[in-house]
């Protein structure tokens, strides 16, 4: 009986156990149909596997990100909070109203709220409902954060943090047209 592709794949990944492994090896010796299919599967595997991100690229990112983490986390005694904001703003006539995903890294953000859990990652959404620059915040994962943040605009948070001497790193991740996720 001939071998199916799943067995051949399992053999290819060296996951086939005895006695089946030996049986497959023996079968492949005399059955050219199965050998051909095995070679095809192997070719696909090799093609996919060798298309991997190269070591040089991995290493460049590795050092860069480590430097960042070391600086922000490992070197400091104090825990650092970070805040993800998904906010919507009126941008230009070309782009129109857009949702922007913004990563905001903030040193020890608490906004004077004892209810904010140190361990929580806050992912609030700021919605500019009128497209006038007056932004509202709503947290998607954290009620306490939502309550604190809901009264503040992005500018207010930024100026608050600035006042307190925190370092804030804002990063625009993506921008998209509004529309489909208003019910979220």
């Amino acid at each position: 009986m001939c071998l199916d592709d799943q067995i051949l794949n399992t053999y290819l990944d060296d996951e086939l156990v005895e006695p089946w492994k030996t049986q497959v090896i023996e079968h492949l010796k005399y059955c050219s149909a199965c050998s051909t299919r095995y070679e095809q599967l192997k070719a696909v595997h090799t093609m996919v596997s060798t298309s991997r991100l190269k070591d040089e690229q991995v290493d460049a990112s590795k050092d860069k990100i480590y430097a960042y983490l070391e600086n922000r986390y490992l070197k400091k005694e104090k825990k650092i909070k970070f805040l993800h904001r998904d906010f919507r703003v009126k941008t230009s006539a070309v782009i129109g109203v857009a949702a922007a995903f913004v990563l905001m890294f903030v040193g020890a953000l608490t906004l004077n709220s004892p209810t904010l859990n140190e361990e929580n990652v806050i992912i609030p959404q700021v919605v500019d409902s009128q497209g006038q620059g007056a932004m509202q915040v709503r947290a998607t994962e954290n009620l306490a954060a939502s309550q604190v943040l809901s009264n503040l605009s992005l500018e207010e948070i930024l100026s608050y943090l600035d006042q307190k001497g925190y370092e804030v790193d804002l990063k625009l991740k993506s921008v998209t047209v509004l529309g489909d996720d208003t019910g979220k």
Partner: protein, 176 residues
């Protein structure tokens, strides 16, 4: 060896050993270096902040791979919804730095593989990426994805079958 994710020594050790795998997982889900860097960075931030005790380095590794994979899949989902707008403003993708003569042939194959991988359904994609790019065995893939080993086996088979049919039919069009 026990791993405490908020301890610098543990963190450094895990970072050193696991970073390449995470970067490849993120990259082959998103195919965007900038996005992948953000994802992996965030995975390590969560790792550090959650202050978890892991029984072994492997357990920490599986946790990180799982977080990275999920973050990456979510980015892709969001991106496909937002594609039109993102395309307008996103930075030009960084092309791989390569040396010399194998660039052309190499990049054609890679492009073909990328397009095919991107077309795989999510469940098959995850399994294939963990197999081909994270170098995990079936058992390890099962632990990361919380599925049985035999399920992994079936998905690997289906993923490769789809991959080879996409590559054979040449329905792949180069878009970058």
């Amino acid at each position: 060896m026990e791993i405490k994710s908020s301890e610098n020594a543990s963190f450094q050790k895990v970072y050193e050993q696991v970073f390449p795998v995470l970067m490849r997982v993120a990259y082959h889900v998103t195919y965007n270096m900038d996005v992948s860097e953000d994802i992996v960075q965030e995975a390590f931030i969560r790792f550090y902040e959650k202050n978890i005790d892991f029984k072994s380095l492997d357990e920490a590794k599986y946790w990180l791979i799982r977080v990275t994979k999920n973050l990456a899949i979510n980015v892709v989902k969001r991106k496909s919804r937002e594609k039109a707008m993102v395309d307008k403003i996103k930075k030009i993708p960084k092309t791989p730095v390569q040396n010399g003569e194998d660039v052309l042939l190499d990049s054609e194959t890679k492009e073909m593989v990328r397009v095919a991988v991107e077309k795989l359904p999510e469940k098959l994609k995850s399994v294939l990426i963990l197999k081909e790019y994270a170098d995990l065995n079936y058992k390890q893939i099962g632990l990361v994805l919380k599925i049985s080993e035999s399920n992994v086996k079936v998905r690997i088979h289906r993923a490769r079958k789809l991959m080879s049919s996409m590559i054979d039919r040449g329905e792949i069009h180069v878009s970058r």
